[in-house]
């Protein structure tokens, strides 16, 4: 589904990402872990054509994401607040996204209803701009927005950060459900080793832009990762 080849990004001779080869097959739930500055977000940004790679390219369905915009039609993403239009209310934002994906009012309502538990009655129908929401609620808006339009691929950067424990658990369930039900290819980066090992089938560990480990999740993965980071 998504392939990176000879991918690298440097800022004035400091290489922040260097991935010779990485391929993520369709339907895989893929977790990216690494300390601050490991290059997780930059890698995600290159997949979304938000950062121009210094060398190499990312292809999605074998098409270079920088050359063709087709990937936008089946890729949902939320990396940070700059993905939100902060002067809209959440309702307006969802309506806007819905119109992009051809949702009717009924479709939209039905779609949003599925996240009622996640929203906890703090988001829909409140006369508040997105910028005035708490960080956690902004995150919920962004993640649900990314799930709109039945994406085939979804990229989330730190989806669990800033969320309360109940929401973290609910979000985990939502993500698992979506990836199982609809062959969703899911790319998640997280510092929360617990969550990421639970949600993802495969975990890639980045360190200073390079892939250090690429493992299929098993019972021992969490322990292995903890040992790795403790010894870092």
């Amino acid at each position: 589904m998504i392939n990176a080849k000879e991918l690298s990004k440097s800022y004035s001779s400091v290489t922040v990402v260097n991935i010779p080869e990485l391929s993520i097959p369709k339907g895989e739930s893929f977790g990216l872990v690494g300390n601050n500055g490991a290059g997780k977000t930059t890698f995600f940004r290159m997949i979304l054509d938000l950062v121009r790679p210094t060398t190499g390219s990312v292809t999605s369905k074998d098409v270079d994401v920088a050359k063709d915009e087709d990937w936008k039609n089946y890729t949902g993403s939320f990396l940070d607040e700059s993905f939100l239009i902060d002067y809209l209310t959440p309702d307006e934002y969802f309506e806007f996204l819905g119109s992009l994906h051809g949702y009717s009012d009924g479709d939209l309502k039905e779609f949003l209803q599925r996240f009622e538990a996640l929203f906890n009655d703090e988001i829909i129908g409140k006369k508040k701009y997105i910028r005035d929401l708490s960080k956690g609620n902004q995150k919920k808006v962004g993640i649900v927005g990314a799930l709109m339009g039945n994406p085939e691929v979804i990229l989330l950067d730190e989806p669990f950060a800033n969320l309360d424990p109940t929401t973290q658990i609910r979000l985990k369930d939502v993500l698992k459900e979506w990836s199982e039900k609809s062959q969703l290819t899911m790319l998640i980066s997280s510092h929360d080793l617990n969550h990421v090992t639970e949600v993802c089938e495969r975990i890639v560990l980045l360190e200073k832009g390079e892939i250090k480990q690429d493992i299929q999740t098993s019972d021992s993965t969490l322990k292995d990762l903890e040992d790795y980071f403790a010894a870092y």
Binding site: L50, R52, E69, N73, S82, I85
Partner: protein, 492 residues
């Protein structure tokens, strides 16, 4: 889609927190814009008569035709400094299923609705119809107008492109300065005449109105050059005109560390000033206003009006705290919670600010001694104004500044930035214009202005000796209201 984009930018404007908070400033700006547009239209309507007034024997059309090229050069520079494409505003749309081409077309199209283009059209259309069409036929009138508007649009897209390329190739600026300088120089020394070139060009358009379409074609060409550039460079980190990381500027003010906490606080404040554009500009402007005296002292018109010199003295010796101090707490609004929780007493915080203002005033006073050239009385007035400033005015300003301070985002631009402007900025007139005259004015009217000046200075001196009381008072007020102020900063 275009409709949605429009509605979004509309909402962005009207929902911006700064918009609501600075309603008065915005209304004023809106009013100013309407006045400006009105002036442009009025000037345009009466352009013929105005030119006839200035040059009675000339033909207004010929004269205007000769000036068009200078107008365009002027416009280019104005545009270069003031015009901007809000490229960053497309960032939240980049990951959505919207074609880049659509966004860029929208952005470029919307940018054409700029005050420069509108004012140009308003200014030239009346003349085109009243004069050009009237004397040369309506085709010539249209050609003339389309030519000028087309050139304005060409400049519009040229400047957009130029400013973007400038990020990649700073040397372009030199090339342009050289070209403009050479042309201007050749024109000044009458080696070539830009004016006759301009006339020839406009005459050709009037003779052959179809030439009016040439700049329109050019405008379209530049539009597509912009489009091409943007399509290939729509990466947030590349279109952002800001430098990603700024170098550390300003000294460390190590000498201030000797004064303990207060010194550290002063050093931090100085760094804040040095490292942000808006406070830096405020301070530089203050330094420039030190020269204000040159405007008043040598002017014979003011020699009989000594009372003005009191105001000038207050202004010169107090400019730093008048200008910078009126936003006292607003400068710290971005990290105000830190101010409230860090390990230094609130009294130290207030006193550090006072000491900073005191030092700046003292420096300004010492510099103002040069005005002694205009007579001993000026020095006396400035000395008394200085004492009054450091003893009384500075505390009044600080107190006024604590009156519902508004948030300032330090990283925003300096010019035309009305963030943080509130009631305090209107009250600031009291220490400048009224307080210094409370003692002085009655005595001056009674015919003893020197006594008035000395007593004003004396009051200042007493205030200075009792400064700890004033600082205590301010500190108490600050402590009482700190939660309200912090909540205000957080809410905005």
């Amino acid at each position: 889609m275009v409709g949605t984009f429009f509605s979004h930018s509309w909402k962005q404007q009207f929902r911006s927190p700064i918009w609501a908070k600075n309603l008065i400033a915005n209304l004023f700006l809106g009013f100013a814009a309407i006045v400006l547009v009105g002036y442009a239209l009025l000037l345009g309507i009466f352009l013929n008569e105005i030119i006839l007034q200035l040059v009675p024997e000339g033909n207004p059309l010929d004269i205007l035709n000769g000036l068009i090229i200078y107008y365009l050069a002027f416009e280019f520079f104005i545009r270069f400094f003031l015009q901007n494409v809000p490229v960053m505003s497309i960032q939240p749309y980049l990951h959505l299923p919207i074609k880049k081409a659509k966004m860029i077309n929208y952005m470029l199209g919307k940018s054409a609705i700029s005050p420069f283009n509108i004012i140009g059209i308003l200014f030239f259309s009346p003349f085109a119809f009243r004069v050009v069409a009237d004397s040369q036929g309506s085709a010539a009138g249209w050609g003339w107008l389309v030519f000028i508007v087309g050139l304005a649009l060409t400049l519009h897209y040229l400047v957009l492109l130029f400013k973007k390329k400038l990020n990649d190739q700073p040397n372009l600026m030199f090339a342009f300065v050289i070209i403009f300088g050479t042309l201007g120089g050749l024109d000044i020394y009458s080696i070539i005449s830009l004016s006759s070139a301009s006339s020839a060009m406009m005459d050709a358009v009037i003779a052959q109105p179809i030439f009016g379409l040439v700049p329109v074609v050019l405008a379209v060409l530049f539009y597509f050059l912009n489009f091409n550039y943007l399509v290939n460079n729509t990466y947030p980190e590349e279109i952002s005109t800001k430098k990603k990381t700024s170098n550390i500027t300003g000294g460390q003010f190590a000498f201030l560390k000797r004064f303990g906490h207060k010194g550290e606080l002063m050093a931090a404040e100085l760094k804040l000033i040095m490292r942000h554009k808006r406070p830096r500009t405020t301070v530089l402007l203050g330094a420039l206003l030190l020269l204000y005296g040159l405007f008043f002292y040598p002017n014979p018109a003011y020699q009989e009006m000594d009372f003005i010199f009191v105001f000038v003295g207050v202004f010169i010796t107090g400019i730093f705290f008048l200008n910078y101090g009126q936003f006292l707490l607003s400068w710290d609004s971005g990290f105000f919670d830190f101010v409230l929780t860090r390990k230094s007493t609130f009294r130290e915080y207030i006193e550090a600010k006072y000491l900073l203002f005191l030092s700046a005033s003292t420096i300004a006073f010492v510099l103002s001694l040069a005005y002694g050239y205009f007579g001993w009385k000026i020095v006396l007035i400035n000395l008394c104004a200085y004492l009054f400033n450091i003893g009384i005015n500075v505390f009044v300003v600080m107190r006024i500044a604590m009156f519902g301070p508004k948030k300032i985002d330090l990283n925003k631009r300096a010019a035309f930035n009305y963030e943080g402007v509130g009631a305090a900025q209107f009250l600031i007139i009291i220490p400048i214009m009224i307080l210094p005259y409370v003692i002085y004015a009655p005595l001056a009217i009674a015919g003893n202005d020197v006594l008035g000046i000395v007593l004003t200075g004396g009051a200042g001196l007493i205030g200075f000796l009792l400064r700890n009381k004033s600082i205590d008072g301010l500190t108490n007020y600050f402590i009482k209201n700190r939660h309200k102020i912090a909540a205000g900063f957080r809410a905005q």
